[in-house]
Amino acid sequence: MPLGPRIAVTMDVSPYRLSGAVYGALLNHRTALQALGDDINRPPYNGAPRAPVLFIKPRNTLAADGDPVAVPAGVAELEVGASLGLVIGRPACRLSEADALEHVAGYLIVNDLCVPHLPYFRPSIPFRARDGFCPLGARVVPRAALANPDAATIRIYLDGELRQTTSTAELVRPVAKLLSDVTDFMTLSPGDVLAVGVASPAPRVRAGQRVRIEIDGVGRLENPFVAGMS
């Protein structure tokens, strides 16, 4: 029972609004694991993740398409975490891979911003849960609008210049498998968002720049970045 989303999105399918709960999968893009190289098998990790590595974007992070995002004082750059977001349509608990997608109402773009950090041993709240660090696309497209969520092309532009092209085809856990594994221990509710994963290396943005994310079939999300006070 999150207390209402701060931002409104256009959503023409049930449940017609977001719940305000936003989850995401980390290290779920092959390139993100590859970037760690042999460090995966060394302390502090001592091996690749077994279960999905998840984060929560709390309500203070949610921002709308077009909202300026503050780059905190003392931080030079932020990592742009462009991800396909699943919007849950029906209560989702212990889904099988076969019927997982039936529980998805639609898709939207999620920008999981964070302050660059290493290692990934402890939760990243001071890096990832800052105000405005989760811009969401203005529109949830119905599930039928995306023929295959495991083949969505994602492009990131910085000040209009293409910086990265990636695809959900490279997810470690494809969408249905991710939903199945997550809902084994955590029920997702209608209007919850699950960001499926971010490619590495994530482009970095500074104050004064604009980021635009496009996902074919889903739309675009654009935000200016400004210098923050704290």
């Binding site: 207390l3 709960a21 091996g47 279960a51 998840l54 929560i56 709240i125 849960a129 029920t187």
Partner: protein, 256 residues
């Protein structure tokens, strides 16, 4: 004032503590009805916003887990589906070796807070309740640890029974915490032993995120978290806040 949210006879009600004529513990609904504790369904005592939790916030607990005291508060988040009320049940999955309770003081944010100094922090506290923040250590991994599979499981964070007004708890920095498993005392501590006290936590958190009305901070647990098994009754008690009861159940109840 102590206020609970309970469900009975088709509606959700605010309820206050009320001893029954026969001496049993009960509640009085706002509409005047008096009921025994077990005649209502207890919900978390408020509609909760962001759930923030602390790891290793008691020095001896950190030693117990063989960790050095962290340099800054170790903070993680929990999703809304993990919350449940007093007298709830929490599932222990088959095959698990180490599942433990964590009795914690939960701080409820009243007035929103951003960039608050520790000297002003307590003005942003609406009240307190007890939290039992279960963990299943078998599922711990070293990626953004503690991971959600350990700490944000369905129905594995009990809250309640009451939301107690901040004004009723003059010194939240000196409250005794106790946990009983099947009536036997297994955990005992005091909030004065927190590494980062409530004002420091509010200053720290509000330095990088806006805290809003209804957000809660689970302030960590002292040493003495032991394994619990199916059928165990776990009672977490905090001075002035009451006692929060929970029962461990198995997979069968969930059709697993």
């Amino acid at each position: 004032m102590k206020l609970a949210r309970v469900a009975c006879t088709g509606a959700i009600h605010a309820a206050q503590p009320q001893q029954l004529p026969d001496g049993r513990a009960g509640v009085r609904l706002t509409d005047g009805r008096t009921l025994a504790e077990e005649e209502v369904v207890w919900l978390p005592p408020l509609e909760v916003g962001t759930v923030i939790a602390l790891g290793l916030n008691y020095a001896k607990r950190a030693q117990e887990l063989a960790f050095n005291t962290p340099l800054e508060p170790l903070v993680f988040l929990k999703g809304p589906g993990t919350l449940l009320g007093h007298r709830g049940v929490t599932r222990r999955p088959r095959g698990v070796e180490f599942m433990h309770y964590e009795c914690e003081l939960a701080v409820i944010i009243g007035r929103g807070a951003r960039g608050v100094r520790r000297t002003d922090a307590m003005q942003h506290v609406a009240g307190y309740c007890i939290a039992n923040d279960y963990a299943i250590r078998d599922y711990l991994e070293n990626w953004y640890r503690p991971n959600l599979r350990v700490k944000s499981r369905d129905g594995a964070t009990a809250l309640g029974p009451w939301l107690v007004d901040a004004t009723d708890i003059p010194d939240p920095g000196n409250l005794r915490l106790r946990t009983y498993v099947n009536g036997k005392l297994t955990q005992e501590g005091n909030t004065r032993d927190m590494i980062s006290g409530i004002p420091v936590l509010i200053e720290y958190l509000s330095s990088f995120m806006t805290l809003d009305t209804g957000d809660i901070i689970l302030t960590g647990t002292p040493e003495g978290a032991v394994n619990v098994d199916i059928g165990d009754e776990v009672v977490c008690e905090i001075e002035g806040l009451g006692r929060l009861q929970n029962t461990i159940v198995g997979d069968a109840l969930f059709g697993r």
